[in-house]
């Protein structure tokens, strides 16, 4: 029987219902769906999909085991290279990675690899007993800065090799962006906690509320007996537009807005103590994944109108197609080719409107996207009471400021050797958003993995060459 051309659809929560709750949007495959989708995989001898995966998951291998209904074995295959499969199955841009290489994609739709990954990962969280490999401690200590995907991956891999690993995390809960940024409806925090616990079960210690650069420094970590340090501190610094009115009450950075909602559970106020301004007419400036998450949160907090304001056109929006599609389904308005000029306040200092100007696309800029230019005289006022700035983030300078010899680019990213993740300071590696600027979960994990391998080789060799 020829494989069916189209993939099995993912069941989702009805758009109208979900726009007012924080429950998961994509519900996951049932076993029957998973078996049917898995049966589409041709099990290529030279699988191209694996080349598209930054952590080289043995994709045909785990899908074959799904076909045989050996779900525990399937997840073990995934986990041998990916410590956070339930997260990746939900948030990876598979359409641009593994799935983009699938041969079925040439004539129809590629195998839904991400959905299958999520299926086996969720199966284990529900039914399975996570397998923790036995390892002989090797007596060497490694410190990891930040408990985001890069830090968790690096720590997990090193623990599997016998290292005594401690992660230092500045927030009160580990997970990085997975905990404070990505909302519950896309990535339930329970799932993140379970995956973090898996890393803990591998023997990794996690010290929360511990800020490297403040509570202690990288140089002091070496004094305290750590043999190597991996920096996975992310890119947490929000950018603003520097337009008039940006400090009015009711203007948030996306980081603050999402942190209040996801980490602090402000959507459950007053059962949880952290408050949030739940505007009725909310504009989110920007069109990346973070902007989509913010605008969809605004809807769920009860906004009558939730809008994306973006200075370029539809084609240029950096968010994943699926996220844009979900936002549209839920009723988000898109004001494209529109740029804010200033935010207007009422007499008490609260946002009451946002003056914008219409844009048109001119010549391509450095990024290859056509540069938006303002159309003179096209200013108008958008009726809003809350504004969320989602313009991107950059790495926090705190580590560079407090560590001798740690080099960074002007924009804040740490300088590293591309393959190994070695920084300019001997004994210190870095990876993830701290090096690349905002990127993806899986790239951060890939960098953590590569660094773990190089840390191991370096410490094994006993060499001091850097």
């Amino acid at each position: 029987m020829a494989a069916r051309k189209s993939r099995i659809e993912m069941p989702v929560q009805d758009p109208t219902a979900r726009a007012s709750n924080f429950e998961q949007v994509a519900l996951g495959y049932t076993e029957k769906m998973a078996l049917e989708e898995a049966s589409r995989c041709l099990g290529c001898k030279k699988p191209l999909c694996v080349q598209g995966c930054p952590v080289s998951v043995n994709i045909p291998g785990f899908i074959k085991l799904i076909k045989e209904q050996k779900y525990q074995d399937a997840i073990n295959v995934v986990k041998s290279t990916n410590n956070l499969p339930a997260v990746c199955g939900r948030v990876c841009p598979q359409e641009a990675q593994c799935e983009s290489k699938c041969v079925l994609g040439r004539r129809g739709q590629p195998v839904a690899i991400g959905r299958l990954e999520r299926f086996v990962a969720d199966w284990e969280l529900e039914h399975g007993t996570p397998e923790v490999p036995e390892v002989e401690p090797n007596g060497k200590k490694v410190a990891v800065v930040g408990a985001g995907p890069s830090g968790l991956t690096c720590a997990g891999d090193l623990a599997k090799l016998g290292y005594d690993v401690t992660i230092f995390e500045s927030l009160h809960e580990p997970g990085g962006v997975l905990i404070y940024g990505i909302p519950e409806f896309r990535l339930p925090k329970d799932v993140v906690r379970k995956e973090v616990n898996y890393v803990r079960n591998l023997g990794v210690k996690i010290e929360t509320s511990f800020i490297i650069g403040r509570t202690t420094t990288i140089d002091e970590l070496f004094d305290d007996g750590f043999h190597a340090v991996f920096i996975g501190s992310g890119a947490g610094l929000p950018m603003f537009m520097h337009i008039p009115g940006e400090n009015l009450n009711g203007v948030y950075s996306a980081n603050e807005y999402l942190t209040r909602i996801n980490l602090m559970k402000a959507y459950l106020f007053p059962e949880h103590d952290t408050p949030i301004v739940s505007g009725k007419k909310v504009a989110v400036v920007g069109a990346g994944n973070v902007a989509m998450d913010s605008v969809r949160c605004a809807l769920r907090l009860g906004a009558d109108k939730a809008m994306i304001v973006y200075r370029r056109g539809r084609e240029e929006m950096p968010a994943r197609a699926e996220e844009i599609h979900h936002a549209e389904e839920e009723g988000v308005e898109f004001h494209l080719l529109t740029n804010p000029v200033r935010i207007l306040g009422d007499e008490k200092g609260w946002v009451k409107g946002m003056e914008c100007i219409k844009m048109e696309l001119g010549e391509p800029d450095k990024s290859g996207r056509r540069r938006p230019v303002p159309i003179p005289g096209s200013e108008f006022v958008l009726d809003v009471d809350t504004v969320i700035m989602s313009l991107g983030t950059s790495p926090n300078p705190i580590l560079v400021q407090t560590t001798d010899g740690l080099g960074a680019h002007k924009w804040g990213g740490l300088k590293t050797h591309e393959e190994t993740g070695r920084t300019t300071k001997p004994g210190v590696w870095a990876g993830g958003d701290a090096v690349t600027g905002s990127a993806t979960v899986i790239l951060a994990m890939g960098a953590g993995k590569a660094a773990a391998q190089d840390i191991h080789e370096y410490l094994e060799s006993g060499s001091t060459d850097w």
């Binding site: 009160h172 509570t215 408050p275």
Partner: protein
């Protein structure tokens, strides 16, 4: 976990706790603060480190029970633990090495002022302290400030003790009488810091204030703590909390501090009817 070792009631609404926090005590410097969370559902709030003891590995926090979280904190007793405690955060205060400094403290602001007074005293600076509150029973840490000051003036708004009037009025009187300090450090409620800056501006005396805006992470990640200083947006948690008071946009800071006033009311009502967790 950070255990509370000692607790002292300074006024009916102001408490002092000594907390075991060896990592923070090892690094703390005058002017820095911590962020803490009291319960699983709790909010993250900043509190200035009022004192620290590196040998014993402790820090001292003083707080007024004004909001929901400080009220919950007020219910904790010695041997209880503070769920999450992160720090030391912010930049240490830039204090002069010599000369004459007037330290002005209003209400609970005397607590964050104290570590600066101690440091100035240690450096041999001539320190004149002005400490005030609404009434005499609300004056805190008087003895501690006195011990490190060359001169101490007590002020009360209601005249129940010392100078009858605001601390800024007392400072004004001193300056009119010819006192010429090199710098002023003023910490307390925002209107008090603003009034003090208005007094010193006329005399061109550099005045440091400590901003206490709403914060979430305390490490530069969110921008909740934005203050405008000299027309530029600063993040108080990493660029401050001490700023040149003459350059602060006080009206904006006041407005922003009141962002969640409605929600605070709701939370406080819950606290009153015992609906705590």
């Amino acid at each position: 976990m950070n255990q509370i070792l000692k607790k002292r009631v300074l006024t009916p609404v102001t408490k002092e706790i000594v907390v075991s926090a060896p990592h923070i005590a090892r690094k703390a410097q005058p002017g820095q603060f911590v962020i803490l969370r009291v319960s699983e559902q709790g909010e993250r709030i900043p509190l200035t480190i009022a004192d620290y003891n590196r040998e014993e590995g402790t820090i001292t926090l003083v707080y007024q029970e004004v909001g929901f979280t400080t009220k919950l904190l007020g219910k904790l007793e010695p041997n209880d633990t503070i769920m999450d405690l992160a720090g030391p955060l912010g930049l240490p205060a830039e204090l002069p090495e010599k000369g004459c400094v007037v330290a002005v403290g209003g209400g609970v602001g005397v607590a964050p002022l104290l570590p600066k007074c101690k440091e100035l005293h240690k450096r041999g600076v001539n320190l004149i302290s002005i400490v005030g509150a609404r009434s005499s029973d609300l004056i805190i840490l008087e003895q501690e400030v006195k011990e490190c000051s060359d001169e101490l003036c007590i002020c009360t708004d209601d005249g129940s003790r010392g100078f009858h009037g605001f601390v800024s009025d007392k400072l004004k009187q001193m300056l009119e009488n010819g006192l010429k300090p090199d710098e002023v450090v003023a910490i307390g409620p925002m209107p008090m810091m603003k009034a003090t800056c208005n007094v010193t501006r006329e005399y061109g005396i550099k005045t440091w204030v400590s901003m206490n805006p709403i914060m979430v992470d305390g490490t530069g990640m969110c921008g909740a703590c934005r203050v405008t200083v000299a027309g530029e947006t600063k993040f108080a948690c990493v660029d401050g909390p001490m700023f040149d008071g003459h350059l602060v946009d006080w009206d904006e800071a006041w407005r922003r501090a009141n962002t969640y006033r409605e929600q605070e009311k709701c939370a406080n009502e819950r606290c009153r009817c015992g609906g705590e967790h």
